[in-house]
């Protein structure tokens, strides 16, 4: 277990040392590749600005994720009730999925973003996160073990008992798989949306990166990336933590087989 934590930390540390040494030895311009120490100094010095930008991007991401979860839940539930509804609506969901969000973002900004950029950003990020949640939940709601389904029928379970005691617990791991993918995509969606929206009211991390790029402040560009990575990793592991907490029983004993 120790090596599982130690190994990646060490390899990362080695990479940073090699980077620092490489920059010092080659004398590469800081406008191309700044040294990690310079980036570190910029990171510490810019915490107030970047923290508020990160909070903005996180807010967009979480709102989009919540919307994706809600719409995914409702649609997947409708799909599980009726094949006709699924046949009618799933092509639309697929169309939304395969259309690159960068390509639809300008349209959404025109439709709903002129008076309220935030709303447009949330919708764009929602578009990115929605499909994986819908897709995994749809399979989750259909993944009930046929023998267990028979068991519930045999003992004349009511539809509500079947749903709450069998269908929902079966679908829960699928929901978390969808959330894991969806949380990352919501963040990407939020960043893309900010990029397309450009300056103006939006003041998230992507906008900071754009600004730093335009001013050739490469250290700040890296700082922006660092914050984005931190957000993404934090989201991913938050979902993982919630999953471990909620699905504990199914996992705890797995290692103890015999």
């Amino acid at each position: 277990m120790k090596t599982r934590i130690l190994a990646p930390v060490l390899s990362l540390l080695l990479a940073i040392i090699a980077w620092e040494a490489g920059v010092a030895l080659t004398g590469v311009s800081k406008f191309i590749l700044p040294a990690p120490s310079a980036i570190g100094a910029e990171l510490v010095g810019s915490i107030p600005e970047f923290a508020s930008s990160a909070a903005f991007t996180l807010k967009i991401t979480l709102l989009a994720l919540a919307a994706a979860l809600l719409t995914g839940l409702v649609l997947a539930f409708l799909f599980s009730l009726s094949g006709t509804i699924e046949a009618a609506l799933s092509p639309i969901a697929v169309i939304l999925q395969v259309t690159p969000i960068v390509a639809v973002a300008p349209l959404i900004l025109i439709w709903v973003g002129i008076d309220n950029v935030e709303r447009a950003l949330v919708i764009i990020a929602w578009l990115a996160a929605f499909f994986p949640i819908l897709a995994t939940l749809t399979s989750g709601l259909k993944a009930v073990d046929p023998a267990l389904a028979d068991l519930f029928r045999l003992y004349k379970a009511t539809p509500w008992q079947r749903f709450s005691r069998l269908v929902v617990p079966t679908a829960l791991p699928y929901l978390f798989a969808g959330l894991r993918v969806g949380s990352g995509l919501a963040l990407i969606g939020a960043v893309v949306a900010e990029f397309v929206a450009g300056s103006g009211e939006a003041a998230g991390l992507a906008w900071r990166i754009l600004e730093a790029g335009n001013r050739l402040q490469v250290e700040r560009l890296f700082v922006g990336l660092f914050w984005l990575i931190a957000l993404g990793v934090g989201l991913y592991y938050s979902v993982g933590l919630a999953e471990r907490f909620l699905l504990k029983p199914q996992r705890v004993d797995k290692g103890a087989l015999h």
């Binding site: 023998a147 267990l148 028979d150 068991l151 045999l154 005691r165 029983p249 199914q250 004993d253 797995k254």
Partner: protein, 238 residues
């Protein structure tokens, strides 16, 4: 206790899975159904359980009689502990009876496993939980659908003895589907041999019920019952 009268069953326009099947199981009697894969024995069991409706003929169970079902897989809820799994049939009926749950766990030989999750159980233990769950409503009828097919032979022997003991103590009528001729001869009072959706014949092993486990497995009547079943089955193939 179980009465199947001239039952026919099929899917759509395909040839029927069951055609003209009739059988009776008396109270406290254990009847085994044997036959090759796809002969319709599991379908027959599902009809008796009420999980399928016959296209023609009738299936009746003793009035008001509870039915338990033991599936091929243990079919446990992985997110519930053993005790909650066993209590499930009661709970679905809006009842609760902790004493009955513990009594069934004890009867299945797993009295100390109530607090474990299914993932931590061996295959044999999981099947015992499944049996305990089937017993919890004190059923007059128990249906077994090849429950031990996936288990090691020694564990299978132990569970066979468990079923024989439970049959005496709990006095249920049962239909036991298996593709093991030996298991059928060992367990059942009467064996019905099936082939291609029909009953081919009946074998009554008639082994002295007082014989202990090992002697019972070596009884000449058991071998005779197996070869009688073999006879019916080979005749059907020829």
């Amino acid at each position: 206790m179980i009465n199947v009268d001239n039952v026919r069953f099929g899917y759509g326009n395909e040839a029927p899975v069951l055609d003209g099947v009739s059988l009776n199981v008396a109270a406290g009697e254990m009847v085994a159904l044997v036959g090759p894969s796809g002969c319709g024995k599991s379908t027959l069991l599902r009809l008796v359980a009420g999980l399928e409706k016959p296209s023609a003929g009738s299936v009746t169970r003793g009035a008001g009689s509870e039915t338990g079902f033991v599936f091929q897989s243990p079919a446990l809820l992985p997110w519930e502990k053993v005790r909650a799994n066993v209590a499930l049939p009661l709970e679905l009926a809006g009842k609760s009876n902790d004493a009955a749950v513990q009594a069934c766990l004890d009867a299945a030989g797993i009295g100390e496993l109530g607090g474990r999750y299914p993932a931590s159980l061996s295959g044999g233990q999981a099947m015992r939980v499944s049996i305990a769950r089937a017993l919890v409503t004190a059923p007059e009828i128990l249906l077994f659908d090849e429950p031990f097919a996936a288990l090691d032979e020694i564990i299978r022997f132990h569970l066979n003895d468990l079923i024989r003991n439970l049959k005496v103590s709990r006095k249920f009528a049962s239909l036991f589907v298996t593709h093991s001729l030996y298991e059928a001869a060992y367990l059942a009072d009467r064996i019905l041999v099936m082939g291609k959706g029909r009953l081919l014949g009946q074998v009554v092993p008639g082994i002295d019920p007082a014989l202990p486990s090992k002697e019972r497995r070596a009884a000449p009547e058991l071998a005779a019952a197996v070869s009688a079943m073999q006879g019916w089955l080979e005749e059907a193939v020829a």
